[in-house]
Structures are given as structure tokens and as C-alpha cells.
Symmetry: none
């Protein structure tokens, strides 16, 4: 897609060159999807983007920061609203799995998790991100509470945590091809467990 420009980019004076930033993020994504996490290095990204390493380091202090930006630049999976919690959660997981499978997002996110195991700041950023996602996912449960599908004292974020954990683990162990029936069964176990009366 947004490959490196043919001609060498020059400085545009004393301010950030948005072409460079774009080229770097694009190159990072491309490198990641072509060579995987093991081939993902600042050097490789710089080569691919026809940029100097310091240019990358100036704007992204670590590999983790770059990964995070790449991940966040990609379209988000949104949470469905079908007026039924089971359908919402199954839909969400199906969308998430296929999004991870079919775009480079899966690779990017896996890499981010891996990176977080050796980089403190990546760990913090990932924790923040995950917290936010749990809150967002939890809203599906909150809506179900409001509809009376689910007991009022249910910890929505904890439910979101269960669901997200299931997704993460499948991503990390290359099981994104799980069929819908299995996903639905897993979701149902949880939804029944929190259902009202």
C-alpha cells in the first residue's frame, strides 16, 4: 500500500515530515506481515521506509511504541449491538478473529504482546490498552444488564476479561480458525453463568 516513495525524501525543514511518518508506519506494517515478528527490526523498517534510524527513534522511543502505533492505526473491530448478549459476544469474537486472521493486525498484536514481555513500556502500554478494551467490551454486558438479561451484580469487566482472554490465547497459539460453533459454545457457558435467575 503506502510503500516508500520512489525518490528519496528530503527534509522539509525544521518540522516533522508527515510523509516520513507515514512511510515508516507503512514499512513497519509491511515488514511485520512479510517477515513476521522475528524479522521485525528497526533496521529493517528503516531500510524499507528509506529512512534513517534516528528518524524513527526520534518519534518512537522503542520498538514497542512503533508497534503500538501500527496497531492503533489499523481499523478497529467494533462491538455489535443485537439486543442479545450471546449474539453480541459471538459476533464480536467472530469479527475479531477474522480481522486478526485476514489483516496484519493479528501479527501486529501478537508482536506487541511478545514485545511487552521484554519491554517495560510496552507492557504498560499494553496493560492500558487492554484495560480500555475490557471496558469497551464490558459495555455489551452492561447493556445486557440494562435489558435484564443478566444479573445486576455481575462484574462486566471480569466477563469481558474472560472473553478477551479466550481471544488472546487463541491468537497466541495460532488457533484463529476456531469454528463458530465452538466460539458460540464457549460464549454460552459464560453467558448462562451470569444470566438472571
Amino acid at each position: 500500500m503506502s510503500e516508500a516513495a520512489d525518490a528519496a525524501r528530503k527534509s522539509i525543514g525544521a518540522r516533522r515530515n508527515p510523509e516520513s511518518a507515514e512511510a515508516i508506519l507503512g514499512a513497519a506494517e509491511a515488514v511485520l506481515s512479510e517477515a513476521g515478528y522475528s524479522g521485525f527490526s528497526i533496521e529493517a523498517v528503516a531500510r524499507r521506509a528509506r529512512a534513517g534510524k534516528p528518524t524513527i527513534y526520534r518519534w518512537w522511543p522503542s520498538k514497542a511504541a512503533l508497534l503500538l502505533d501500527v496497531y492503533q492505526r489499523q481499523k478497529r473491530v467494533d462491538t455489535p449491538d443485537t439486543e442479545n448478549l450471546e449474539e453480541d459476544l459471538v459476533g464480536f469474537l467472530k469479527n475479531l478473529f477474522s480481522h486478526w486472521r485476514e489483516t496484519s493486525s493479528g501479527s501486529v498484536f501478537k508482536s506487541l504482546i511478545a514485545e511487552a514481555q521484554s519491554d517495560e513500556t510496552a507492557a504498560a502500554a499494553l496493560a492500558d490498552y487492554a484495560r480500555g478494551r475490557r471496558a469497551q467490551t464490558g459495555q455489551m454486558v452492561e447493556r445486557a444488564k440494562a435489558r435484564g438479561e443478566v444479573a445486576a451484580d455481575v462484574d462486566a469487566e471480569l466477563v469481558a476479561d474472560l472473553v478477551a482472554s479466550f481471544a488472546w490465547t487463541h491468537l497466541l497459539t495460532n488457533r484463529l480458525d476456531e469454528d463458530e460453533a465452538t466460539i458460540r459454545t464457549a460464549v454460552r457457558y459464560v453467558v448462562r453463568g451470569i444470566a438472571l435467575a
Copy 2:
């Protein structure tokens, strides 16, 4: 514990020297728990074990293989049997969390997961291992089925998957200090969801 012997180890003939193997695994564990995954290099392990790098590469073709051996050398968490599924699962998770927290196992396993994201063989080994653990954990559910606590058509491994995913994710995001109440609540959501009638 089993640090490198004071005197230099020599060859014991044309066969593997178990002292060296032991020293290397011990050194790997020590390096990992002291310097973390980011400081874990074959060089560092060799230095620590007073072993030559080729000796390590002879027996462990990759960092992943070494990590796997280190993890498997450590004592396992076993699955309780309290005649009650909720207690079994809560006990299992509590044991697992404290084992991961209090020994170096947590670091080792996190590192293994991270490594699996860049190493194909590590990924396969990890997948195998996880499959085995799901089966083992699933037996708690099977026993509950036999006792009539749980519906007969429940997919025991899927339940184990949910539980293990919860554990993995907490490990990977440094949330092993989750209190018992939260763990119990999460377990209860699932156990209720599969309870008979």
C-alpha cells in the same frame, strides 16, 4: 541452587555430560529470573554455566528448546480434587498463580510464549504443551460430570481452555496478584454456565 561446579567440567567421553546439561538448565533459569527475558541470551547462559556455546547448541537447537526444557524441569502444579468443581478450579488457579508468582516459572513461561511468536518450533512445542494441559485440566470437569454436577454434553476441554486462557492472560499482563474473590467469581460464572439443570 545447582550452580556451576567450582572446577571446570571436562568431557566424560563420547556422550552427553549430565553435569553440563544440569548446569546449563540451572544457569538458564537463573539468568531468566535475574535479567528477565530481555537479558536471556545463549551467551549469557553459557557464561553463567561456564559452558561453551557449542555445547548448548549441540543439545538445544534454539533458545525456545532451552526454555521449554527449563519449564518442564520445574515442578508442576497439580489439579486438586475436592469433589466440587468450583473449589477444584479456584484451587487450581490459586496454585498456578502463586507458583508462577513465587518461583521463576512465571518468567519462564512468559518467555516461552514470547519466544513462540518468533520461532516456529517454539510455537509448535507450546501448542503441544497447551493441548496436554487442557486435557489434564479438563479432567476436573470430567470428574464433575461423573458426579452429576455438570451437564453430560459439556465440552470439558473447552471449559479448560476458558480457564487456562484466563490464567495465561493474567500472566502475560502481570496481573498474577488477582485476589481470590475475583478468581472465584470468574470461575463461578463458568461453572454456573455448565451446571446441570
Copy 3:
């Protein structure tokens, strides 16, 4: 002499650091004269010069290239001009022998010859160098021709070859302590052989 600077050298921007080059050549010379050819390794030079191996490899593709540079950095022996061929050649050999004996040049040149036996590029470089030296040495003979000391059809380079061969062989077999009388006798055999009438 020009040892590595006390403080660590830093980059001086996107161009070759002459201090590093100097430190590396100096270190190479020092290592060679202290540990000999057998102790001469890129690693040792890098350690001594407080330089990174990649810095050495960036500028000298092989051990041979480094050796050649070290040799050429050293002061040259020049060819005397005494209006008498025998004196010229004896003087040249005496100077050369004492130069090889008293500086590290001898070691360096021996190493270069040794290296050329296992390195193609070193062999080529050495051949080039030797050809150049023969031409230069041959000028002493050409001058003698012009003076009428020597027959006009004498192959000056071949004479230079004989003289240089004598020197090389003495260097390679540690016979640089040959006394002047012997050198003079050897030279005289050749000079008489090409004398006019």
C-alpha cells in the same frame, strides 16, 4: 605508540572516523608485534583498539586487507643511489634487512605472505605489491645500464626478482641477521653475471 585514546571514541557523524582508523591500524601493528601472526585476530585488534568488530570489517574486508594497510603505513625503505650497482644493491638489502629486523615491518610482511597462502585477495594484493617493488628495485639496475656498468639487454626486473627473492626467503626463514659480507657476496655473484663485457 598511538594507542587507543583513553576515553571511548564516539561517532563523529556520518563519515569515517580517522581516529578509529588510526587506532585500529596501530592496534593491529601492536598485536602483531606482541603476539605474532598466530595471535593476530580481528577480535584481538578490536579489543586492543577499543573498536567494534563491525567497524573493522566495514573498512577492511579481510585480515589481509588490514595487514596490507598496516604494512603500507610503515615507512618505506628507499633505494640508495651511489653510482655503483653493487653498492646500491648491498645498501638496499642492508637497509631492508635492518628495517625488517628492527621495526615490526618484518613480522607484518611475513604475516602478509602467510595470509596470502590462504586468502585469494591477499595473494592478489601481494602480487601487485611485489610487482611494484620489482619495478622500483629494477631502477637501480636501469641506472647502472645508463652508466654503462651493465649490459643493455639485461632484464632489470628479473635481476630485481633475484634480489628480492633472496630477501624474502631470508625473512621467511628468520635469517635476517645475515652479515654484510655474505650479502655482498651474493650481490656480487649477480652483478658480475650481468656486467658489461
Copy 4:
């Protein structure tokens, strides 16, 4: 030629197994002529000879000793006797050059010289060998003295040194293809220089 036997050699009791010695020397020669000095390692020889490394080290304390044995096992170039010094020396050099060119002797001898630059014992052995060869070559000059071709006070070994140096240098700089005319010219310069009256 005498390649390794098909079946594994066994010990023949508490004494040196000549089959092994033969196989090792043969393998050394083969490795040298196929891979050159740079590929010549004790490991490679052991592999090729299907021998254990200690068997080699037991009988040859260094690479140099092995090289020397290999060289001495090969047929020698002998000194012609044509009743004419120029013809003798030209014949000798022609034979030597073609022997070095057409058998592996050239490689072997070059390697030996190279090895002598980093190995003290090889240097000593080579010096001894060279001294012996000078004496032998000098006999051609002695015979010429006896015939009255050459002045009585000529230093025969020094003449031999000049001739041998010429040969060594051509070997070391890959100039063994020198044509006969050039060889003859060089020889003539020296022979004339020592001729009687």
C-alpha cells in the same frame, strides 16, 4: 590414492597402526589439494581419514608436523647432472616448478611455509629442511667447481640459496608458470657471475 578403507579400522594392539598413519597422511594430502591451506584443519583430515582426532595428535603434535610428513612422503625432485652448471640448474628449476605445479607438492610446501610463520616448531623444521636442500643443491655447484667451470672460492651454498630463493618466491606468489627462457636467463646471470676467469 590410498583413500580410507571402507570398513572401520580397529586397533591392532598396543602399537601404531600403519594403515591409520597411511590413511591420515593420504587424507591430509587430499584435503590440502582439494580445499587448499585455508581448508586444511585437523578436523577435516580426521573426517576424511575416518580417524579420531586424538590418533592424529598422538603421532603429529601439530599441524606443522603433519604437513612436514606429508611433504616428505612425496617423491623428491632430484638434481640433474649434465656436466654443465647452467643446464643442471635450469633443469633443476624446471623439474621443481613442474613438480610443484603438477602434484600437490606445491600446495603442501606453500602451506608449510605459511604454517611456519605462526608455529615455532614448523619454522625450525623448515629451516632444517631448507639447509639440507641448500647443501644438496650446492653439490651441483661443487661439481662445477671440480670441473673448473666455477671459481674455487665460490660459496656453493650461497649460490644454492639464490637459486632456491628464486624458486620459493615464485611458488609463494603463484608464478610457477614462468617460461624456460626466463628461468634460463636468471640462472645465467648467476652462473656467469661465478664463472672462472
